[in-house]
Amino acid sequence: MDETEVRRTPSVIDRYFTRWYKTDLKGKPCEDHCILQHSNRICVITLAESHPLLQKGKAIQSVSYQISAGCSRLQNKVSGKSKRGGQFLTELAPLCRIKSSDGEEYTLYSCVRGRLLEVNEDILTRPNLLLEKPCAEGYIAVLLPKFEESKSLTDTLLTRAQYEDILLKRSAVKVDQ
């Protein structure tokens, strides 16, 4: 008997979100992010499955939202329906810094322009969420793009198909080497 079922019906993400990708953030190979864009234009930033952190054998030592001396994403406070007070981020604004137990350091980025609504504080206390459920409880942040930019923001992002193409090309390169 199958212990777990392969879904025949669309999941929550399938029902409400479109998956977009940004690869090799800041030129660093394979540091890929997956942006889940809700039909109401809200974006959830997550790690793509090809990110080094999600590869076998990685363990997380620390997660920090302190981007610089004066800026911590934890200080972000929004209020009211129009989410006043949220930090407005551009595509390459850093969200958080992660240290893995093998000494590597990774920075995760916003990937889209928009107002920062919240960062996931659960991964501070339970970093394993990021590794086990990157597309659910292990999300990084939630952003609200400007209404006028909601269509154009995906111009610089890759579709799932384009992303898979890149993955194929990468493994082809590996084989050649």
Partner: protein, 543 residues
């Protein structure tokens, strides 16, 4: 005979000389006998003239002239009446011609040409043509703001006359134009329509007057009393009646007299009457609705001018109501609402519709039942029960329900891991579970970000197969059920998945009951039971 006293004589003389109509003169003399105003205005004029020329036993001659001096000499009067004749008696000299075409400088004709049967007939005709159902009405009158300016000017004019006699005339003692006008028109209108004209009635008949020729009369007040005039978004003109009244209270007599003539200038035209507006107070219709479709939104779903989904709960209920009550608009509200893909079963969800400006309002319970049947026949996507006419206050009960009462749901759950029946037992024992829900991502674009504490009172499970089961829940109002099941990225804690230690998702959701006991159940006197609703599918099936 007019109830005028000797002290009123100088007022009457001054105002007649200034160009006031007979009824305005009565007002300034503080005559509060309504029947005096209702007489035809030629009769009032005649009686006024008789009064002016009447010799007072102890006085040898009258007082003021139109030229303000301190010495009151006796002079011969030449007053021409409408007939062109002269009054033979002596008295004061008034050098004014009271003719038919002269428009009153204070009321601008309102108390002259609009206080007769013909005008009342015109108003009555408009009301009848709109075919309202009514047994009373309230008359509301709106006059141009400059009337208060002209009134103020006339008052200043006679204030001095009154002071000379050692008397006091407060502005508040003077009968208002609106009041006198209503005294006359209300009884005429009542006669025409055969219903009483009262101070409070569901039907409001509004008569409005404008006088563009003298709109400029108010403008000097803006400079003299700038604090009173603030441009408000909804007002067409800066010079609202309230603002003008306030300014007149503040402005000094000198400043006023400098900028505005005392008495006011005679107008060339009389007031124009705007179209008579009728407005009936709204009627409230309440009931409970069931929603049998998983593709029906609550309100019309339109994006960029394009309709995305056919019809809506709101439209299916209100369209027949608008037609039956011949109303011009509506406000639909309900005790909470459900998503497009969620059915509402059981007793249904309470709703109330405010029908605006209804032309038909009298419906027997049998007729209301017929409307309910018509709604139910019109579509199999919804069903309505307990349809009834209610009062505005009653609607408050419904909104109470939204915040305070509990709701019951049934959901079809999918589990990632395989389950057995015994794996579900622990859920049945959970009572009053507290959960914390961050604003769900699917509504976060239009709701503030917050954490909501909610209680799941009871749950009951029914096993279907290794990856599916039915979950019934009774929860506090305002609980997001879908997010409780799938966890919403971990932003609802604990979620059903957390409790079962596996990934869970919700495939279907139905509202089983909205635990508000309003509106009251309507029993069919014939059968003694609720009429059946059409097409209520079996629980658990997907329509």
């Amino acid at each position: 005979m007019l109830p005028l006293k000797d002290k009123d004589r100088p007022i009457a003389v001054a105002l007649l000389g200034a160009g006031c109509c007979p009824r305005c003169i009565l007002r300034f003399c503080c005559v509060s006998l309504q029947s005096a105003y209702r007489q035809p205005h030629e009769d009032i004029l005649l009686e006024l003239q008789r009064f002016i020329h009447a010799k007072v036993a102890d006085e040898s001659c009258g007082t003021a002239e139109e030229i303000p001096t301190d010495s009151p000499p006796c002079k011969k009067v030449r007053v021409e009446t409408e007939q062109g004749g002269e009054l033979p008696e002596g008295g004061e000299e008034i050098s004014v011609v009271e003719g038919k075409s002269k428009i009153c400088v204070v009321c601008l004709g309102v108390l002259q040409d609009f206080c007769n049967k013909d005008f009342a007939k015109k108003v009555a005709e408009t009301v009848t043509s709109e075919k309202y159902e009514f047994d009373s009405l309230v008359l509301s009158v709106s006059l141009p703001a400059q009337l208060s300016v002209r009134e103020h000017s006339a008052w200043l004019l006679i204030k001095t006359k009154v002071r000379e006699k050692g008397l006091c005339l407060g502005k508040d003692d003077i009968i208002q134009v609106k009041e006198a006008f209503k005294w006359i028109l209300q009884s005429l209108l009542s006669q025409q329509l055969g219903v009483p004209v009262v101070s409070k009635s569901p039907l409001e008949v509004s008569v409005g007057f404008t006088h563009p020729e003298t709109d400029g009369d108010c403008h000097f007040l803006a400079a003299a009393c700038s604090g009173c005039f603030k441009p408000a978004k909804n007002k067409l003109s800066l010079f609202t009646r309230m603002a003008v009244a306030k300014a007149l209270e503040r402005i000094s007599e000198e400043s006023f007299r400098r900028k505005f003539p005392c008495p006011p200038c005679p107008p060339a035209t009389k007031c124009t009457v705007q179209e008579v507006q009728c407005l009936h107070a709204p009627v409230f219709v309440a009931g409970r609705y069931n929603k049998f479709s998983r593709t029906l939104p609550q309100t019309p779903w339109v994006i960029d001018g394009e309709r995305r989904m056919e019809s809506s709960v709101e439209e299916l209920i209100t369209t027949p109501l608008l037609a039956s009550f011949q109303a011009e608009g509506f406000n639909f509200s309900s005790s909470g609402r459900e998503d497009v893909d969620v059915r509402t079963l059981g007793n249904g969800r309470p709703f109330a519709v405010e029908l605006l400006n209804p032309h038909r309002t009298r419906f027997s319970p049998a007729e209301v039942r017929k409307i309910q049947e018509a709604i139910n026949k019109s579509s199999d996507k919804i069903g309505v029960r307990d349809l009834q006419i209610v009062t505005r206050d009653a609607v408050g009960h419904m909104k109470e329900g939204e915040e305070e009462k509990t709701k019951s749901y049934s959901a079809l759950i999918w589990t990632h891991k395989a389950i057995e029946e015994q794996d579900l037992e622990f859920i049945n024992d959970i009572k009053d579970l507290s959960i914390a829900q961050k604003t769900p991502l699917r509504v976060l674009h239009r709701r503030p970000l917050a954490v909501r504490q909610r209680v799941i009172h009871t749950m009951a499970t029914r096993f279907r197969d290794n990856h599916h089961f039915y979950l019934q829940l009774r929860t506090q109002a305002g609980t997001y059920i879908k997010e409780f099941v799938h966890g919403d990225f971990g932003r609802t804690k604990p979620s059903l998945g957390d409790l079962m230690k596996m990934e869970t998702d919700i495939l279907e959701l139905d509202v089983e009951s909205v635990d508000v006991d309003w509106p009251p159940v309507v029993t069919d006197p014939g059968s003694g039971e609720n009429p059946d609703l059409p097409g209520s599918p079996q629980h658990g099936g997907t329509p």
